[in-house]
């Protein structure tokens, strides 16, 4: 099994894990500050095409992290299934994003940058942060009136790879190239609208672009572990559990579940087809192991809307 992410709660305990999160937050705040994100006028200039610092920092951050993450999962160091991928609620996400964009240009910050602004004693940052807390309060008080919309267009853990039906490596390379084009475009806009000089050609820039493209090509080359690869890695540990019957459903429990009208029991038989044909439990469906992840996606994962006012 890939050693990362670490089970930090078990390793360090409740408070030990929180220390790690304080340190990560510290590094986050530090990096935002040295990039100039405590200054509202610098952030707002992004929207007047005068200073594209926001675009540059954000997308460099995204593509650097992305290449490192998928290189680590490809090498079997990091388990992609165990990292948090924001679930997709498409329309609530888009509407919330549009509202945020309006708040950004009126207020001059986003929540993370306003924290750094407060930390460096900017008064406008403080007003923004207090306003942000008020907006969060308002949301908590009003979400019950549009809960159905807020839980709509739910696609679960949908990735760009699923959506485009492309291998991870291709998507990673595509995103890196898209970001590089955006950087180039951003620098042209800065020259036209912001009066910036043409950026100097330097070894640092060439090396940065080369490293990112090489990293993305490396991710494409090594590929991502398939279900079979993951099983090979898991097998010694998990097969022992199966052998000693540590993981099983008791026949009695299965029988009760099958008889329960409120449950929709799905039995999948992932053995070879030959074994399945020789013997299988009645109503069990044969499914090759390779198709398992696709089948899981087809299960009905929609959360039932929670009614709070009745």
């Amino acid at each position: 099994m890939p050693p990362f992410p670490l089970p930090i709660n078990e390793l360090l305990g409740h408070w030990g894990a929180y220390v790690v999160y304080v340190l990560i937050g510290f590094a986050f705040g530090y990096v935002l500050e040295i990039s100039g994100f405590a200054i509202s006028t610098k952030l707002a200039a992004q929207f007047y095409l005068k200073d594209m610092t926001v675009l540059k920092v954000m997308f460099t951050g995204i593509i650097v992290a992305m290449v490192l993450i998928f290189a680590a999962t490809g090498l079997g160091l990091l388990d992609y299934n165990l990292i948090w991928v924001n679930p997709t609620y498409l329309w609530p996400g888009i509407v919330g994003g549009l509202i945020m964009g309006v708040g950004f240009i009126i207020g001059g910050f986003c929540p993370g940058t306003s924290l750094v602004s407060v930390a460096t004693l900017k008064i406008d940052g403080l007003f923004f942060a207090v306003g942000g807390l008020f907006g969060i309060f308002l949301f908590g008080e009003t979400v019950q009136y549009f809960e159905d919309f807020w839980n709509s267009s739910y696609y679960g853990r949908l990735t760009l790879m699923d959506w485009l039906n492309l291998p991870t490596g291709i998507v990673v390379l595509g995103v890196v190239l898209m970001a590089l084009v955006m950087f180039w475009g951003g620098e042209q806009l800065e020259r036209i609208f912001g009066g910036h000089d043409k950026p100097q050609r330097s070894w640092g820039r060439v090396a940065g672009v080369a490293t990112l493209v090489a990293g993305a090509l490396f991710v494409l080359m090594i590929g991502q572990p398939t279900t079979a690869d993951k099983w090979v890695r898991l097998a010694p540990e998990k097969e022992a559990l199966l052998a000693e019957r540590a993981v099983q459903i008791h026949p009695g429990e299965l029988l009760t579940s099958l008889a329960d009208d409120q449950l929709n029991v799905i039995m999948l038989d992932v053995r070879d087809e030959a074994d399945y044909n020789l013997f299988h439990i009645r109503r069990a469906r044969h499914l090759p192991l390779a198709d398992l992840s696709a089948a899981i996606r087809n299960c009905n994962w929609r959360p039932r809307p929670i009614r709070s006012s009745w």
């Binding site: 992410p5 930090i8 999160y21 304080v22 937050g25 510290f26 986050f28 705040g29 530090y30 935002l32 500050e33 100039g36 405590a38 509202s40 707002a44 920092v57 954000m58 951050g61 650097v64 992290a65 490192l68 993450i69 990292i83 948090w84 609530p92 996400g93 994003g97 509202i99 945020m100 964009g101 309006v102 708040g103 950004f104 240009i105 001059g108 910050f109 986003c110 929540p111 306003s114 750094v116 407060v118 930390a119 004693l121 008064i123 007003f127 923004f128 942060a129 207090v130 306003g131 942000g132 907006g135 308002l138 908590g140 979400v143 696609y155 760009l160 991870t168 990673v172 940065g208 709070s308």
Partner: protein
């Protein structure tokens, strides 16, 4: 006769210690971005979680609400999840990450001579207008961030890096919303 040069140690008050450091320029945005990427990667690599800000702030708000009106919190599903019964809304990793972000911003601001009590604004509005607009914008932002289940850090950065489809749609919506309104509020910044 010889003259003795006495090196009297300069007396430095706390004001000097805090605000007296020479101001340094910001780093190159691509360098800042690369460092941000490494921090984001380490966060996922070590803990399985990305970065976030608005989720942590949400929990401070709910903590206050739970102090003032615990029965109300128990009746609203959205608040119940964070602070229902004897659940402590502050018992969450995002709360501690938020503390760290404040601390990190402060240390960097101090170290680079950028701790300054000031209001940044466009040249054509008064300081008070800027304060009001900052509050209004903050409220809109806070509302939108919870609507979208995450802010620029939690959705765009973190979800973007792990290639969540919804996070990418969200990211373009944020820029779309900003650019769509920027022209109408240009007086605020130009």
């Amino acid at each position: 006769m010889t003259t003795a040069v006495v090196n009297e140690p300069k007396r430095r008050g706390w004001r000097d210690v805090l605000f007296g450091r020479p101001e340094k320029p910001y780093v190159n945005p691509y360098v800042g971005g690369a460092l941000l990427g490494v921090v984001l990667f380490l966060s996922f690599f070590l803990t399985g979680n990305g970065l976030g800000a608005s989720g942590g702030l949400n929990r401070y708000v709910v903590f206050l609400q739970d102090l003032v009106a615990p029965e109300h919190v128990d009746r609203v599903a959205y608040l119940l999840k964070m602070a229902g019964g004897d659940k402590n809304p502050l018992d969450d990793y995002l709360v501690f990450m938020t503390l760290g972000t404040l601390l990190g911003g402060f240390v960097s601001g101090w170290q680079h001579g950028r701790l300054k009590v000031e209001t940044n604004k466009g040249p054509n509005i008064s300081v008070h207008t800027r304060w009001v607009m900052a509050f209004v914008g903050g409220a809109i932002m806070g509302y939108g961030a919870r609507f979208a289940r995450g802010c620029t850090s939690g959705q765009a950065l973190s979800g973007g890096a792990v290639l969540s489809a919804g996070s990418w749609a969200f990211m373009f919506a944020v820029f779309g919303g900003g650019y769509a309104v920027a022209y109408f509020v240009r007086r605020l910044w130009n």
